[in-house]
Symmetry: C2
Subunit: 747 residues, 2 copies
C-alpha cells in the first residue's frame, strides 16, 4: 500500500465543491431549516451553579398563550438504573436532580413564536436548594470541597476508594524507570502550568429542527460533526431505536470538536412529540458559552531531566484536567500526546480528571493535547536553555522516529518529526534576527489521528459523472479531498466528481468527523467504493470484448486489454462504459464500508516570534511558522488552511482566551466582546510548510491534518513570551495584565 507515484489530481488545488454555495449565501446551516407549522423551542436554564432541584412547576408556562409543550427530565426515560456515565449524559441534557453549572438546562418550552416560548420559559417555576459551587480543579480536589456527585467513587486513587470525591478518573502511563532516569540526570527542570477553560469559538451556534411523527419515527436537521452520532445519542436520550431516527446534517459553521455531542436534539424531538409539531431550537451565543462543551482547564506539572549532552533521560508529568460537571475530559489523549515527540526510556505520566461546577467539556481540536504539550514543551524549552542548546537541536537529539516505541504504546512507523525539525531549522523565519522586546519560541506538536468506521457509495451517471455519497459532515474540506482521491482512483477529472454528505437513512454508517479521521477513513471507503466501480467497469469492458475481466486493466480512466491479450479493442472510458451500462448489466455503482486501521501519527513544529509592548504588557505575534507532517497533502490549500486555523486558535488560547467565573460560579464573559478570539488584525500571516511523509497504511499516504496544528502554538507562543520577558511564565492566557506583572515584578 505504498503511495502511488505520478499522481495526477491529488496535490492539486481545485475549487472546493461547497465553495460557491457558501460564498453566495445559498448554503444552509443549522438554523436555516424551516417546516410548515414549526414551533420555536427555548430552554429553561439554571441561575445557580450548584443546586438541588426540589420541584419544577410547569403549569403557568403551559398556560402561556402560544405555548404548546413544556418538558422536563420527567418526560424522558427514567434514569434510576442507568450507568453513571449514561446518567450523566442525560442529566447534562436536562437535569432531574441537581443542577451542576450556571446555565444547566432544566426544562424546555415550545411555542408558536420565539416570544411566546420566552414567556413560557419565564413562567416555569423551579424550586432550588442552593449548594456551594466549586469551579476550580484544585479546590475541587481538596478534602472539604463540595461534592458534585454523591455516587462518584473512583477506583485507583491514592486513598481507598470508599467515599465520593470530585476526582472522576486516574490514569497512569509509564515506561522504564523514571526515578532511575532522574537519578542519572545532569539537569532537571520541574514546573507547574495552568491553562484556562476555553471555547472552540465556532461562529455558528447549535441549532436543530426536530420532527416526531405519530408512527414513532423522527427526523432531526442539525449542525453537527456526526449525524450518525446524533442519531445514536438522541435515540439513547429518547429511549428510541436509532433506526427510527433520521438525521440530516446541515452545512456546519465551525465545530472544532464542539459539535461531536448533542444538547438540543432530544429536547426538540420530545417537544415535537408532545406538541405534534416540528420544533426548531437555536442557541444564543450566551447559551453556547454557558452550556456547551468548552476545552478543559488544566493544572499540569512537568519534570524532565537530561544529560549535559542533551540526552533526555526521564520525563514525568502530573496532569489535572477539569471535566466540567460530568466526567468525560480528554485527559487520556492529553496523557498520550505529551511526551510523544521524544524517544526516551523513562517516562511516567499520572493524570487526574476532576469534576467542577462548570459546563461539561467537549472535544476541541486534538482534544487534551494542547494543554499537556504546553507544559511539556515549555519545560523542554527551559531545559534546552539550561544546557545552552538550540531548542531545535535539543529536540532533534531526542526526536522520536520510525521504530520509536511511544510511552502510550505503539511503535511508530515512518513519522515526520525529524523532517519538520530540520525544516524549521532551515526556515528563513528561524534565521531572522530578533529586535528589542522580541522573543522567539519553538515547540513541537503531536496528534495520533483517528481511524474508525466509514462507508461510501459511488454512483456513475449515464453521462459519466461520478456521484460520491458518504456520511461524514465536511468540517474542513473533506468533500474536496474525497473528490480528489476518487478522481485519482478512477482516473477521471475532478470536475466530473459530485459529492454529497447524505442523511443517516441514505448512506452507510460513518463515525463522527473528528480526530482527523475523515480524509483518512472515509477517504479510504471512497477509494474502495471507486475500486468496486472499477471492477464493474472492467467486467463490462471484458464482456464487450468477449475476454475475461482479469484480462482487462483500468488505467488513466480507461479500460484496456492487459498486455499480451490478443484482441482488437479501443480503450473504453468511464463515460463510454457508463453510456451503455443499461445494456451491459445495469447501472454502475460501488460501495465500501470498513473500520479503518493504521492511522498515521502527525508531528508538527511551530516557530513563533512575539513583540512585547512593555507599557501595556501586550504580546503581539509578529511571525508564526507552522510546519507539519500531513502525510500526503491531498488538497494542499486545505492542509495549509488547517495549519493556519489551528495556529490562530492556539495563539488565541495562549494570549487571550479564558473563561472568567465569579465567586458564585457564574461565567462573566459569555460573548465575543469579552471572550476575545484573535481577529485578522491581531495576527501576522501564518507561514506554512507542509512536510509529506506518506502514511504507509493508506493508498495515497494520508495521515490527517486537522488536529495537530493547534497543539504546538500554546508552547511556541508561551516560550516566545517567556524569552521576550526574560521570565518563565506558566499561566495562560498570557494576557496583558499577567505579562505586565511579569515585566514589572520579574515573576
Amino acid at each position: 500500500m505504498a503511495p502511488a507515484q505520478g499522481l495526477k489530481y491529488i496535490g492539486t488545488r481545485p475549487v472546493r465543491p461547497d465553495g460557491l454555495e457558501k460564498v453566495t449565501g445559498r448554503a444552509n446551516f443549522g438554523a436555516d431549516h424551516a417546516m410548515p407549522g414549526m414551533l420555536h423551542g427555548k430552554v429553561v436554564r439554571s441561575p445557580h451553579a450548584h443546586a438541588r432541584i426540589r420541584s419544577i412547576d410547569t403549569a403557568a408556562a403551559e398556560a402561556v398563550p402560544g405555548v404548546l409543550a413544556v418538558i422536563t427530565a420527567q418526560d424522558f426515560p427514567d434514569r434510576t438504573n442507568f450507568s453513571f456515565g449514561r446518567k450523566g449524559f442525560n442529566e447534562n441534557l436536562l437535569a432531574s436532580n441537581k443542577v451542576l453549572y450556571h446555565g444547566h438546562a432544566v426544562a424546555a418550552v415550545a411555542a408558536t413564536s420565539s416570544e411566546a416560548a420566552e414567556a413560557g420559559v419565564a413562567a416555569v417555576v423551579v424550586d432550588y436548594e442552593c449548594l456551594d459551587p466549586v469551579t476550580d480543579a484544585l479546590q475541587a480536589m481538596s478534602p472539604d470541597a463540595p461534592i458534585l456527585h454523591e455516587d462518584l467513587i473512583t477506583q485507583g486513587l491514592d486513598e481507598p476508594p470508599t467515599k465520593a470525591s470530585n476526582v472522576s478518573r486516574k490514569q497512569v502511563i509509564s515506561k522504564g524507570d523514571v526515578d532511575a532516569g532522574f537519578a542519572a540526570a545532569d539537569e532537571i527542570v520541574e514546573r507547574t502550568f495552568v491553562t484556562p477553560m476555553v471555547h472552540q469559538g465556532y461562529i455558528e451556534p447549535h441549532a436543530c429542527v426536530g420532527n416526531f411523527n405519530e408512527d414513532g419515527q423522527a427526523t432531526v436537521w442539525c449542525s453537527t460533526q456526526g449525524h450518525f452520532g446524533v442519531r445514536s445519542m438522541t435515540a439513547m436520550a429518547m429511549g428510541m431505536d436509532e433506526g427510527d431516527i433520521r438525521v440530516i446534517a446541515s452545512e456546519i459553521g465551525g465545530g472544532f470538536g464542539g459539535k461531536t455531542t448533542i444538547y438540543l436534539e432530544p429536547l426538540a424531538l420530545k417537544l415535537s412529540q408532545k406538541s405534534g409539531r416540528p420544533v426548531k431550537m437555536v442557541m444564543t451565543r450566551e447559551d453556547v458559552f454557558r452550556a456547551t462543551g468548552p476545552a478543559s482547564g488544566t493544572v499540569n506539572t512537568v519534570k524532565i531531566g537530561c544529560k549535559r549532552d542533551g540526552t533526555i533521560v526521564a520525563m514525568y508529568a502530573k496532569l489535572i484536567y477539569e471535566a466540567g460537571a460530568y466526567p468525560g475530559s480528554p485527559l487520556g489523549p492529553g496523557a498520550m500526546c505529551i511526551f510523544a515527540p521524544y524517544d526516551v526510556g523513562n517516562v511516567l505520566i499520572e493524570g487526574y480528571e476532576v469534576v467542577v461546577n462548570r459546563p461539561r467539556v467537549a472535544a476541541y481540536r486534538a482534544p487534551g493535547a494542547p494543554q499537556s504539550m504546553y507544559a511539556g514543551e515549555s519545560v523542554v524549552d527551559e531545559l534546552a536553555d539550561r544546557i545552552g542548546m538550540d531548542p531545535i537541536d535539543f529536540r532533534l537529539h531526542n526526536a522520536a522516529d520510525e521504530g520509536t516505541r511511544a510511552a502510550y504504546g505503539p511503535t511508530f512507523g515512518p513519522v515526520g518529526l525529524k523532517a519538520c525539525l530540520e525544516a524549521a531549522k532551515a526556515h528563513p523565519n528561524y534565521a531572522r534576527p530578533l529586535g528589542d522586546d522580541e522573543g522567539r519560541g519553538v515547540a513541537a506538536g503531536f496528534w495520533f489521528n483517528g481511524g474508525n468506521q466509514s462507508s461510501a457509495e459511488v454512483h456513475i451517471t449515464d453521462t459519466g459523472m461520478v456521484k460520491i455519497v458518504e456520511g461524514s459532515p465536511d468540517i474542513g474540506g473533506s468533500r474536496a479531498s474525497m473528490a480528489l482521491m476518487a478522481a485519482e482512483t478512477l482516473g477521471v477529472p475532478y470536475e466530473r466528481m459530485r459529492i454529497r454528505v447524505a442523511d443517516t437513512d441514505s448512506t452507510g454508517y460513518c463515525a463522527t468527523t473528528g480526530g482527523s479521521r475523515t480524509t483518512f477513513a472515509t477517504g479510504l471507503a471512497v477509494i474502495r467504493a471507486c475500486e468496486d466501480v472499477i471492477r464493474q467497469l472492467k467486467s463490462r469492458a471484458a464482456a464487450t470484448w468477449e475476454i475475461e475481466p482479469d484480462q482487462v486493466e483500468w488505467s488513466d480512466g480507461e479500460a484496456r486489454p492487459v498486455a499480451g491479450v490478443n484482441v482488437e479493442a479501443e480503450p473504453l472510458s468511464l463515460a463510454a462504459l457508463a453510456r451503455t451500462a443499461g445494456r451491459t448489466g445495469g447501472p454502475i455503482s460501488g460501495r465500501a464500508s470498513l473500520t479503518a486501521q493504521g492511522a498515521g501519527p502527525a508531528f508538527s513544529v511551530n516557530l513563533a516570534d512575539v513583540q512585547l509592548d512593555r507599557e501595556t504588557g501586550r504580546a503581539t505575534v509578529t511571525s508564526f511558522t507552522a510546519i507539519q507532517d500531513a502525510g500526503t497533502a491531498i488538497h494542499p490549500d486545505y492542509v495549509e488552511g488547517q495549519m493556519q486555523g489551528g495556529a490562530v486558535q492556539g495563539i488565541g488560547w495562549a494570549l487571550n482566551e479564558e473563561y472568567i467565573y465569579d465567586d458564585n460560579g457564574v461565567l462573566d464573559n459569555p460573548g465575543f466582546l469579552d471572550y476575545r478570539v484573535p481577529v485578522a488584525s491581531d495576527l501576522p500571516m501564518i507561514d506554512t510548510q507542509i512536510v509529506e511523509v506518506p502514511n504507509p497504511n493508506h493508498p495515497y499516504g494520508v495521515r490527517g491534518c486537522g488536529e495537530t496544528p493547534i497543539v504546538a502554538p500554546l508552547a511556541a507562543v508561551g516560550n516566545a513570551v517567556s524569552h521576550a520577558v526574560g521570565v518563565r511564565m506558566t499561566e495562560l492566557p498570557l494576557s496583558p495584565p499577567k505579562v505586565l506583572e511579569a515585566i514589572t515584578n520579574g515573576s
Copy 2:
C-alpha cells in the same frame, strides 16, 4: 430461481411504511415544498389550438412590479439542429415556432407572489398567426387536412413518403398468413371502435420547486414517477449535464403514467437561473386537463375469423392512435397486447399514429392496451355469440399458454390466462342470474410488464434495523413490497425494515416507476442488495468462529455453521452481528444494480354486470369481478387495491370519461365537474381474485400488477352494455345519450 417455498413475510398484509404519514397529513406532496426567497412561476398558454408565433414581447411583463424573470423558448438551447423527436419534446415544454394545442405553453413568469406572476402572464404579448385546427384523427389523416409539422415525413406509409402528413408512424406486427386464415374461417366479425381521449385523473396536479445555483448546479423537488427521468429530461431541456441536477421526489398524489414526463421542471429551473431565486410552479386543474398528457383517443378496426368449433384462425387489426401535438403515443404496446391472449397462427396488426391539435399524450396504465383490447375483446365476444359459445369457453379454447409464441415476438413461459379464465368460470358472480335490463360482459386483459434498470442499497444499523434505500417513487405500494421481500430474504421481521426513496444524488440509478416494473426490478435489486448483506454477515460470523465463510449458512435471520462443520457455535442473528460490526470489519451495507430481465407477462379476466335505465340511458355497473395473475402477490392488499383501482378507472373510461373539444379545438370540460370520473356512489364493490402463477425469472415469482387491471374493464363493460341493450355498441364512452340512442334506434 423457482419461488421459495414456506414464505414467512411475503403474502402477509402489514401496515404500509408510508401509511401513517399520509393519514395524518404529514406526508409532503409536490406542492408542499417551500424555500426562503422562493418565487412563484406561472405559464403563459396559447389561446389558440393551432397558430404560428410571429413574436413574443415580454417587456411589459418584465415591468410588472414583483416580476423577477420572464422566459420564452429563446432562453433555452437553440433547437434548430435537434432531431425531430427532441425538438418536439422541447417545443411541448415551451413553443418557439408554432402552438399546436389550446393551452400550449409559450412563456413563463416568476414573481414574488402568485398575483404578480399572474399579472405578468397577462402582460406578455404574443402575436399569433392563426391556423385551422384539426383535433380528430380521421380528419387529420385526410389529404387536405391542416398539417401540424411541415417537416414530419413518415417512412412506411402507403404513398411514397415524400410529403409531410399528420401520420407520424406506421407499425406492423404479423405472424402467419392472415388472408389464408380468413379464407379458412367459418365465421368472421369485423367492426370499428372509437375510444375517446381520457385523462388519468390523478388528484395531485403537477408541481415543483426549481433552484439553480451560481455554480451551475441545480435542485428540483417535484411529484414524479421517476426522478431519475426528470433529471435526464430536465438536463436535456436545459442543455445541462444530468449530473449537475439533483432531483428529489416528493410523495405522489397519483400518476398512473401521467407523471413519467415533465412539463414545469425546466421552466422553474430557467426562471430560477434568471432570477437567482428558487421558483415554485403548481398547475391548476385546468392546466392539467389542457396541457398535460392524456391517453390517446383511438379508432380501431378489428376482424377475427373462427371455425365453427370455436378455433380462431385469423386476427386482424387496424389501429389508429392519436398522439396529440407531437409523436409519442402508446401505439406500440397497443399493438403488442391486442391479441396476446390467443394462441392463433395468423395475425396481422397494422398501426397508425396521428398527430392532432390536442395535448401530447402520455402514458396511462398499460398504455395503449385498453383501447386496442377494447376493440379486440369486443369482437371476440361477438364472435363467441355468433357461434353460440360461452365467451369464457371460447377464450379457453384459444387461450395462450406456456409455449405460445405471441405475435409480438416472445414465447410465453408459464402464464396464468387459463387459470384466470377457469377462476372466472367458477366464480359465483358468473353464475348469478341476470335480471331485466341487465347485461353481462367478459373480457381478458394483458400487459407484458417491464424490467429495466434498478439499484438499491441496504444499510444495517448498530441496533439491527434494516435501512433500504432505492430510487423508485412509490406510486402504489412498492415500499411495502420491497420491505417484505427484504424481510423474507434476510429472515428479519418486516417491522425492522425502514425504506426510503432517496434523491438522485444519494442512491443508484432506478428507471421510472411504470410498466409494472418496480416490485419486479427494483425489488430484485433490493433482494440482491440483501444477499450482499448476507454475504458479509456470513463472513463476519465465520471470522468469529474461525471457520471459512462457505462453512456458514444464513437461515431464518441467523448465521450458523453448515451441517458437518465441527465447531461450537451458537447461531448469530443479524442484530448480534450488527452490534459488533465495528470490531469485525466495519459497518454492514449491501448494494446491487442491474438491468432486470425476464419480466412476467400478466393476464386478467374481468366480469361486469350492468343494469340499464331505459328512460335515461344510464348504464350502472352492478357487479364487477377482477381476476388477475399477479405472479406471487407480495402484499395482497396492494395487489387487490391495484386491481380495484384499475377496474374503477376502466369503468370510468367505458362509461363516462371523454375530452370534449369545440370546433376551435378548445377543450370544453377541463374540470372534474364536467369530466366526470367515477366516484364511490357510482360503483359496486369491486370483487377481486388473485391468481398466483409465479414468474420463474424472479426469486419470489413477482410479475407486476399495476397495469393489467385497467385493460379488460373497457371491453367487459362494453360487452355487458351491448348485451343489455341488445345492440353492439362501438363508441366509448357508453354515456347515457349514446345508450339512449341505441335503445331508441337500435344502432
